[in-house]
């Protein structure tokens, strides 16, 4: 029988080693798609370490936000590379081995995590959430809005600065460019666009086109 504490320790070192190796691959691999796959593995392994420390919410958030966002990044890379459909299909086969390796490592990591839980290994430290008798998510929310309120709000300020900086550095107001004025489009009235003209119903006057020219031409022959 394996000692649960030992197994947990082995898992921790294994996850940490995978994280470091994957992070190194991100900056050393020449192929950008491989690098993105390594980045996914880095985030996933970090999430596994957090899971070991019983920070479940953070681990799930990392997977959902980062791995999700990185997948979008991955798509962007493929789209920006300007490759035709034929090559893309070749690429799929070419990237398959690396993708499989990443997937297998992830699977092994998940099995390790399940193993740690099944064996009921002791926790790595005092878990404040269990001590307070709350779920991890509830405790995190409580901590963020009480003890860590100020850092939480300052982090929001930093995000605001990010937005301002992004707008200040990229928005160019060029003159002479046709803009779409959404507010005017919404506020428009049917009357401004279509002019309905009232006219008396007209009947073609019999013989009218010929009535002037015909008498003038008649005397000629």
């Amino acid at each position: 029988m394996i000692d649960p504490q030992m197994f947990q320790l082995v898992c921790f070192y294994a996850f940490a080693a995978v994280t470091v190796i994957a992070a190194l691959s991100v900056i050393t691999l020449r192929n950008s798609v491989h690098a993105v796959l390594a980045l996914v593995l880095t985030f996933f392994s970090t999430a596994c370490i957090w899971m070991l420390a019983e920070a479940e919410f953070l681990a799930i958030a990392l997977i959902v936000v980062y791995v999700g966002a990185v997948m979008v990044l991955f798509l962007f890379v493929v789209m920006m590379l300007d490759i035709d459909q034929e090559k893309l299909r070749e690429g799929f086969v070419k990237f398959l081995p690396v993708g499989l390796v990443v997937a297998v490592v992830m699977l092994v990591e998940m099995l390790g995590l399940i193993g740690v839980r099944v064996m009921h290994a002791q926790t790595m430290g005092v878990n404040p959430a269990t001590a307070a008798g709350m779920s991890n998510t509830a405790w995190l929310g409580m901590a963020l809005y009480t003890q860590y309120l100020l850092p939480f709000e300052v982090a929001a300020l930093i995000l605001t600065v990010g937005v301002i900086a992004a707008v200040a550095l990229t928005l160019r107001q060029r003159t002479g460019v046709r803009h779409q004025q959404a507010s005017e489009q919404v506020a428009v009235n049917a009357r401004d666009r279509v002019r309905i003209v009232k006219m008396a119903a007209e009947r073609p006057i019999v013989g009218e086109p010929g009535s002037q020219s015909a008498p003038a031409e008649e005397p000629k022959p």
């Binding site: 009480t146 860590y148 100020l150 300052v154 930093i158 600065v161 301002i164 900086a165 707008v167």
Partner: protein
């Protein structure tokens, strides 16, 4: 649980955040012709904030938000001078920005957010707050450096600043995680108590080294000074003048909070590290400045040497040394705003008055500006009876009292070497013939001239009458 009293303690910061948001929204609805209004509002906001900082100052030290925020004498002095120098920056920057079509609302909002970062940093009571305050300050600074989007030099400076700044933040964060691992707390006061009982002294010193690297990066002390010359030269002068003032005060505040409030018991380890940084900064800053032909770059290298002097004060690791270092940081902020202010006053559309060549014969063209420049350069060099002289004297004294006579001698020798390049600029202004074709024209802005004159004359006044300011600094560290 946070309560209303916490908000009262942080009133200046809360006011400034609210004002920044109002200015941000107001700018979106303003026509370009109404921008001067925004300029005056921003200055008024900073003046009110100074009033709030001084008015609500408690005797002694109070904390808010579970020890995240400390309001004490040190924070008060640093905040007052950081806000004051930012007001000067706003006044000096306006004509420069108008000439270059950079007079936009974002300049003001980003500046105010940067100053909020400074205020949070110097009041931080927790490692998280130090990191967040620093990020708020530096993120705003990166954007400000890149504000002139059409300039290749600015973009290059911004990228260098961003990459090296991110690296430094990473180092700092790594050091913090080591400290957390060794002590189990992020609160600086708890950290101070936990360090003597820690069972992992090697991990503590390991974390300390990374913290020192982070601090040295932010101060711009050699060998972590690589970004300073390029950023000073590449960014618009209106932004350079800011980077040379308030962030230096913030870096001193950060060093004080981390080293004294957090790791005071490890001082025998960090004293020697700081001494090495100081000697390297003095040597590299002063020696490389001699060969510069661009005044902004020259002042950048002089910054590196000044940070060396500031570190001499910190090496003392006692109230006397901290007071001397803070006095030095304040004097440096005022001197560099004056020196860059003159460059701003002489620049105009299509002409950056930043080469030393451009200053040839300035005395014949604009004698008053030449006089103000001479005052600030002499003060930077440490010529008596100017402000900079007493600041240098105090840090050298602090180093001697710390038992590091050799360090004080090195400092004095490099002060004399440094005199050469400051005097060279003064000689160029007073004794050289003006170069034909470099017509120097003064900015007609009245407030700029008045503020610049006051700033430079204050260097003389504080040099003659420096007792009260030093007393204020000493009192802050005594209590």
């Amino acid at each position: 649980m946070p309560n209303f009293n916490d908000i009262l303690i942080m009133l200046p910061e809360f006011f400034l955040v609210a004002a920044a948001c109002v200015i941000l929204v107001a700018d979106a609805f303003m026509k370009p012709a109404e921008r001067p209004f925004l300029h005056w509002i921003s200055i008024a906001v900073l003046v009110v904030t100074i009033y709030l900082v001084v008015r609500g100052q408690p005797s002694g030290s109070v904390t808010a938000f579970n020890g995240m925020f400390i309001r004490d004498g040190v924070a008060e002095i640093l905040k007052v001078f950081a806000l004051l120098s930012t007001i000067l920056v706003f006044i000096y920057a306006r004509p420069y920005l108008v000439d270059r079509k950079l007079f936009v609302g974002e300049f003001y909002t980003l500046m105010i957010f940067a100053i909020i970062g400074v205020m949070l940093l110097v009041s931080a009571g927790n490692l998280i707050m130090i990191y967040l305050g620093l990020e708020l300050l530096t993120l705003s600074s990166y954007a400000l450096v890149a504000l002139n989007r059409d300039s290749k030099l600015s973009s290059e400076a911004a990228i260098k600043y961003f990459v090296l700044g991110a690296l430094a933040s990473g180092m700092l964060l790594y050091g913090m995680s080591m400290l957390y691992g060794a002590t189990g707390t992020l609160d600086l006061a708890h950290l101070h108590d936990a360090i003597p009982q820690s069972t992992m002294p090697h991990l503590l010193v390991f974390g300390l080294i990374f913290m020192i690297i982070g601090i040295a990066f932010k101060l711009g002390a050699a060998p972590f000074h690589m970004w300073i010359p390029d950023v000073y030269q590449g960014s618009p002068t209106a932004v350079t003048v800011f980077i040379g003032s308030a962030p230096k005060l913030a870096a001193f505040g950060m060093a004080f909070r981390l080293l004294e409030s957090g790791m005071g018991d490890l001082s025998q380890h960090w004293q020697l590290m700081l001494a090495v940084l100081a000697v390297l900064s003095l040597a590299i800053g002063n020696l490389v400045a001699i060969v510069q032909s661009n005044l902004k770059r020259l002042l950048a290298y002089s910054t590196i040497s000044h940070m060396g002097y500031l570190l001499l004060g910190l090496v003392n690791a006692g109230p006397e040394g901290y007071a001397a270092a803070m006095f030095y940081a304040i004097s440096y902020a005022l001197m560099s705003t004056a020196a860059f202010g003159v460059i701003l006053a002489l620049s105009r559309a299509g002409f950056e008055c930043e080469e030393i060549e451009d200053f040839k014969g300035l005395n014949q063209r604009a004698p008053w500006m030449a006089f103000l420049m001479m005052l600030s350069l002499f003060s930077l060099a440490g010529v008596p009876p100017l402000f900079g002289f007493f600041a240098k004297l105090l840090v050298l004294q602090a180093a001697i009292h710390a038992g590091m006579m050799w360090l004080a001698i090195v400092g004095a020798v490099f002060a004399i070497i440094g005199l050469y390049y400051y005097l060279h600029v003064v000689k160029v202004m007073y004794f050289d013939k003006p170069v034909a074709g470099t017509e120097v024209r003064l900015q007609p802005d009245f407030t700029l001239r008045v503020a610049l004159s006051l700033n430079a004359l204050a260097l003389l006044a504080l040099g003659l009458y420096w007792g009260p300011l030093l007393g204020w600094c000493k009192q802050a560290f005594a209590g």
